[in-house]
Every structure is written in structure tokens, then in C-alpha cells.
């Protein structure tokens, strides 16, 4: 600060320029970037709401992925049963088909759960990203949404394959479903990672048909659902 004879401290030209620069920067931000950030925030908050359009789309995709994967598994099972002489109408065939239906329901329900969880992941990560923006840090928003779409299809495929193998095994059709396994294997990239995630939570890597609640036998037993 410069000084004059009066003893009053005078602002230098540099200080005045710096203050003006700060004012301009803030107003530039408020005019150009703040509206964009506000729009982003409202989108993220809207997507995170229970029953939001984004959640319904994610659940719909998970459901379709499951249905498509199990449709292939059903066709493979029916073919395998017929080739093995267990025609539709026989007890073996009937129970294998209804069992695969129950597997599909479990996979569909858990697929829906995971789509919700991944939406929650995306929601909280994006809120964290917005907080970073508020603190003036760099932020990455929206990457988790794309991961979710991929994971859903991979999980459905892995579930269908695991369920088919189990039902085929029960009906003693081992070897009849190899073609389906190879076909599904081609689209299975990355599902090991998903299975590992499920394994951590107790679903197990053996698919919903066989691996259900391995980590929770105590709870299931306590509730009287398993002997």
C-alpha cells in the first residue's frame, strides 16, 4: 500500500486492478458457468429421486436383459431335454422348466436391486462431484451411468448361463448345453468382475440358481426358510 502525507493508506493501482479482476472472474463464472452447474445439479437430483425416469429406464433395461438371456436359456433347455428324450410333459422336463422360471425370477429381482444400487452409486458420486465443483475443484460426473448399463447385460447373461447349467445338471443333460455356453461366453466379457462384486455380498459366483444366500444361511435358517 502506498501512503500520502495525510497518513491514510492508499490502494495501489495493482491492488485496484486485482480487485477488479476478481470481480470480473466471479461475474463471468456466474453468468456462464453457474447456470450450467445449476442445470447439471437439477438433473442429478432429479435422476436420484425414487421412481425417477432414469431409475425406471435402468430397471427396464435390467429386466429386458434378464428376459433375453433366460429366453435363450429356455430354448437351450427345451432342446436339450428333447434331445435327451425328456419330452415336455415328463416330470423331469416340467420341473426343469419351472425351475428355470424361478431362477429367472430370482435373477430378475436381484437384477432390479443391482440397477437400483448402481443408480444410488451414480447419484452419490455425482453429488460428490457437484460438491467438488462448489469447492472449485475439478470433477468428473456421469461415468458411473454408463458402467451400469453394461453391468446389467453381463450379469443377466451370467445368471442365465449358471441357471441353465444347474437345471441341465439336475435333468442330467450335461453336454447338451455346451453350445449355449459358448454363445454366452462370447458376450460374457467383464462378468467375472460383476460376479466378484456379487460374491462379496453373498450371492456367490455360481449364479442365483445355485448360489443364493450362501453367505446368509444363518439368517435364512433363523427365519425358518431352510431346514
Amino acid at each position: 500500500m502506498g501512503s500520502k502525507n495525510s497518513g491514510k493508506v492508499q490502494e495501489t493501482a495493482a491492488q485496484r486492478a486485482q480487485a477488479e479482476h476478481a470481480m470480473n472472474q466471479l461475474n463471468d463464472y456466474k453468468q456462464r458457468w453457474l447456470p450450467v452447474q445449476q442445470k447439471l445439479a437439477s438433473t442429478i437430483l432429479e435422476q436420484g429421486e425414487k421412481g425417477s425416469e432414469a431409475r425406471r429406464l435402468a430397471a427396464g433395461k435390467a429386466s429386458t436383459d434378464t428376459a433375453m438371456s433366460f429366453d435363450k436359456a429356455n430354448s437351450a433347455l427345451e432342446k436339450g431335454l428333447t434331445n435327451a428324450g425328456a419330452a415336455p410333459g415328463s416330470a423331469k422336463a416340467n420341473l426343469a422348466m419351472t425351475g428355470l422360471g424361478a431362477d429367472e425370477a430370482a435373477a430378475g429381482g436381484l437384477g432390479h436391486l443391482m440397477s437400483e444400487q448402481q443408480m444410488d452409486d451414480a447419484y452419490t458420486q455425482n453429488l460428490g462431484a457437484l460438491m467438488s465443483l462448489g469447492r472449485g475443484e475439478r470433477a468428473t460426473v456421469g461415468t458411473s451411468m454408463t458402467n451400469m448399463a453394461r453391468a446389467s447385460a453381463e450379469q443377466a447373461s451370467a445368471d442365465a448361463q449358471a441357471a441353465l447349467l444347474q437345471r441341465s445338471g439336475n435333468a442330467q443333460l450335461a453336454g447338451q448345453v455346451v453350445g449355449f455356453g459358448i454363445q454366452q461366453g462370447a458376450s460374457k466379457q467383464g462378468s467375472d468382475k460383476i460376479q466378484a462384486m456379487f460374491s462379496q455380498t453373498g450371492v456367490g459366483g455360481s449364479g442365483f440358481g445355485t448360489g443364493l444366500a450362501y453367505g446368509n444361511q444363518d439368517l435364512a435358517s433363523a427365519s425358518g426358510m431352510v431346514p
Binding site: 491514510k8 480487485a19 422348466m97 425370477a105 429381482g109 436381484l110 462448489g134 455380498t201 427365519s223
Partner: protein, 143 residues
């Protein structure tokens, strides 16, 4: 304000109305900029932080996730029953009473297990997410 706003052709005027000729222009402007920044933070970002804090600390978030997971399983099994019935019908198959009983028993058991599993998974993942927001990695309860 459109994002195509160009400060070169449309320069910012003095929005705080501080006299540029004032001896305290720099001090007054910086003080106002600081207040403006704080107000902007409080108005635009504190509500977002509060949403995240609420998610991370509200125990209802966990119970709601568990309830939703359970509902999803029951809905899936209810819907699947119709699909399976239609599939069997399309093949001209009708289950015998014994087969029907076996299928009902197996499906009920599987639904119960899936229900427990889904609730445990929802609880673990939600609690892990809450704790990671709060800054502490959570132990994986069901591994």
C-alpha cells in the same frame, strides 16, 4: 444468460456499484466478491452437500433400500409365475398335482432365499456407500 456470452464484446460492468474513483475501491470490491462467493456457495452448493449428508447419515436410507429390494423380488416372482404358466401352456403341458406342489415348494423356497439375499445385499451395499461418503471404508459384512 446464454453460455455464448462473450466478455470481450460485452464486458462486465461494475455489478456491485462501487465507485471506481473511491479510495477504497479495491478493499470494497474484494470484500463484496468474498461475500458474493459465500452467498453463491450457500445458495447453490450447500443444499447439495446437505442432500449427500442426509443420504449418508439417515438410517431410513438403509431400511428403504431393503424394503425396495424385497418388493422387487416378490414382484419378480409374481410376474414370473404367469410367464412360466404361459410357457408350459404353449408346449401343451399341464403340471400334475404332485409336480405343481413340488414347483410351488421349490419356488417358494427360492423366493424366500432371494428375498433374504436381496435385503442383505441392499443393506450391505447401502451401508458401505454411506460409510464411504463419510470417509471410512466399510467392512464387507456378507463376504
Amino acid at each position: 444468460m446464454p453460455t455464448s456470452w462473450n466478455p470481450a464484446t460485452n464486458p462486465i460492468t461494475n455489478p456491485y456499484g462501487i465507485n471506481r474513483g473511491s479510495d477504497t475501491f479495491a478493499a470494497d470490491t474484494l470484500a463484496q466478491v468474498t461475500r458474493d462467493q459465500w452467498n453463491n456457495y450457500v445458495q447453490n452448493f450447500v443444499p447439495i452437500e446437505n442432500r449427500l449428508i442426509q443420504y449418508a447419515t439417515d438410517p431410513n436410507v438403509v431400511s428403504d433400500a431393503m424394503a425396495d429390494a424385497s418388493t422387487g423380488i416378490h414382484q419378480a416372482f409374481a410376474a414370473q409365475q404367469g410367464t412360466t404358466d404361459r410357457r408350459l401352456k404353449s408346449l401343451g403341458v399341464q403340471l400334475s398335482p404332485e409336480e405343481q406342489a413340488a414347483q410351488t415348494r421349490a419356488s417358494g423356497l427360492q423366493e424366500g432365499l432371494a428375498d433374504v439375499q436381496s435385503q442383505n445385499t441392499a443393506r450391505d451395499l447401502t451401508m458401505q456407500r454411506q460409510q464411504s461418503i463419510l470417509g471410512s471404508p466399510a467392512p464387507t459384512g456378507a463376504s
